[in-house]
């Protein structure tokens, strides 16, 4: 699946932004930069995948060590 940023724009200018097709915090900087461009951030929800990536990194370090 291709990596995408999906922006939903309501008639009143309420916007939701999320990344699809990747895991972890890699793209969050881009999402937040776009949100700041658009206006005022009202809410940020961290998805479970963020922590999945973190756990994966820790496991890799344990195996290698």
């Amino acid at each position: 699946m291709a990596s995408e940023i999906v922006v939903t724009i309501g008639k009143g200018g309420i916007v939701t932004i999320e990344g699809e097709g990747y895991h972890g915090p890699v793209c969050d900087t881009q999402l937040r930069a776009l949100a700041v461009d658009l206006g005022d951030i009202e809410a940020v929800e961290t998805k479970p995948e963020f922590f999945e990536q973190t756990r994966s990194n820790v496991q890799t370090q344990n195996i290698g060590g």
Partner: protein
């Protein structure tokens, strides 16, 4: 995905070009008729009377409708941009709903601009409920890396 962000659109001085595009999107008749000034200029009323307000972006009254006043967009000290619309013109159609529609178009233009700057394909679809779904799609990784970009 890892984050889900909800934001409220605010017109900003950094994207005056997107605001002008959005105004033209909702009224193509305004194309080429919207004034953009580095410093605020006076707004005029329907009698040609100089009003107390000034603005950097101006749509002169003759382009709005008969009996209208100038519509302006004024840059604020914090970098946001506020609409200046007379009570008469708000009652004549340039109301909160109109500003909401303008915000939707502005948000699309800002999103589109950033997507293009990121080297993404920008795909817009209209949902049944009137919301717009805008996808910024990353190109193939190899082309992406050659362009020196990354997520």
């Amino acid at each position: 995905m890892s984050e889900y962000i909800k934001a409220r659109t605010v017109f900003k001085v950094d994207h005056l070009d997107c605001l002008v595009q959005a105004l033209q999107d909702i009224n193509p008749h305004w194309s080429g008729k919207i004034e953009v000034h580095e410093k605020p200029v006076a707004l005029f009323g329907y009698h040609g009377d100089r009003r107390a307000e000034s603005a950097e972006i101006v749509i002169r009254r003759e382009h709005v409708r008969n009996g209208a006043n100038d519509i302006g967009f004024k840059v604020q000290a914090d970098g946001t941009v506020s609409a200046i619309i007379s009570a008469f013109d708000q009652q004549s159609g340039n109301d909160a709903e109109w500003l909401g529609t303008l915000s939707q178009h502005y948000a699309f233009r800002v999103t589109e601009q950033r997507g293009v700057a990121m080297g993404c394909d920008v795909i817009k679809t209209v949902n049944e409920d009137g919301t717009w779904r805008v996808v910024l799609r990353q190109p193939e990784v190899e082309a992406w890396q050659q362009a020196g970009r990354g997520w």
